[in-house]
Symmetry: C3
Subunit: 120 residues, 3 copies
């Protein structure tokens, strides 16, 4: 916890997944809400996607941040806005196209979350 997932359409060829994940994680560390080594993030490049039904060129990048339940709405809004700002600074453009950036914050049920750490 937290678990972050970055989904992005494959036409965002300027998106550097590893660099963007690091920038997102830095933002989460700076929030002061999480232990540094607890932040687990992954990026999925989507080969098959569709935005709407028109043939216009379109792209999107979407972050889902899954947190153990219990944080305040204000805290979650702040995290969401700050992650969106990271996406906005990532230089994601597609000439002639609309690029949609979005962030969802999702609660994970605390009572049934299990975790173990191996090694090191």
């Amino acid at each position: 916890m937290p678990h972050l997932t970055l989904d992005y359409s494959s036409n965002l060829t300027t998106l550097d997944a590893d660099r963007t994940l690091l920038a997102l994680n830095r933002q989460l560390v700076e929030s002061g809400q999480f232990a540094e080594n607890d932040i687990k993030s992954r990026a999925c490049r989507l080969e098959h996607y569709r935005i709407g039904i028109e043939p216009a060129p379109r792209a999107f990048a979407h972050v889902t941040l899954a947190l153990l339940s219990g944080r305040t709405p204000e805290c979650k809004q702040g995290l969401s806005a700050s992650l969106l700002a990271v996406l906005q600074r990532a230089g994601l453009t597609l000439p002639g196209a609309e690029v949609q950036l979005s962030v969802e914050v999702r609660d994970m049920e605390r009572a049934s979350y299990s975790k173990a750490v191996i090694g090191d």
Copy 2:
């Protein structure tokens, strides 16, 4: 918003991901619930899957539709049923196998959802 995800087992070799996403998006546009260019859909072909524990040939296709919170149960049931009907019309068969089709509608917390649009 909305975000649609289609997961399907890779033995559904007749599934045309791009065509199916377009059909699903058309259905969402027809529902009148969404702006056309807001509908962001992706398909994931699953190379590693397992249905139950028996060696019988089995397949599945599963849609998750994530919506900003606030819609009525009736609205969500209607969207779910209509997307399932799209899957049923997609000609997904696997000779001698059971193919399971399913649709989940999931609320996204509205207060902490963030969005920005770049370009165009």
Copy 3:
């Protein structure tokens, strides 16, 4: 229902996705909570991931179990703990690295879940 997803960082080269999915499914069958052929599981090997911000070698495997709403907290805790135990027995190690294992149990809204079965 249920839908199980196993995400794991690609540095866990000893993880056999098919074998691990079968072990997870066996555990779900043994719980007595589900019809054998209803259990739909998939594994996603993550090529692009980042744990925290430090360069230390780290790995993770994360299971999400999505259930139709209505089960008790105790039932969900039991399922979560038993799936974590499967991960712990899977021999996931990375020399000199910390490997984080986790399980989330997530409710799916029952009223808007749709399903159909084709063939067989």
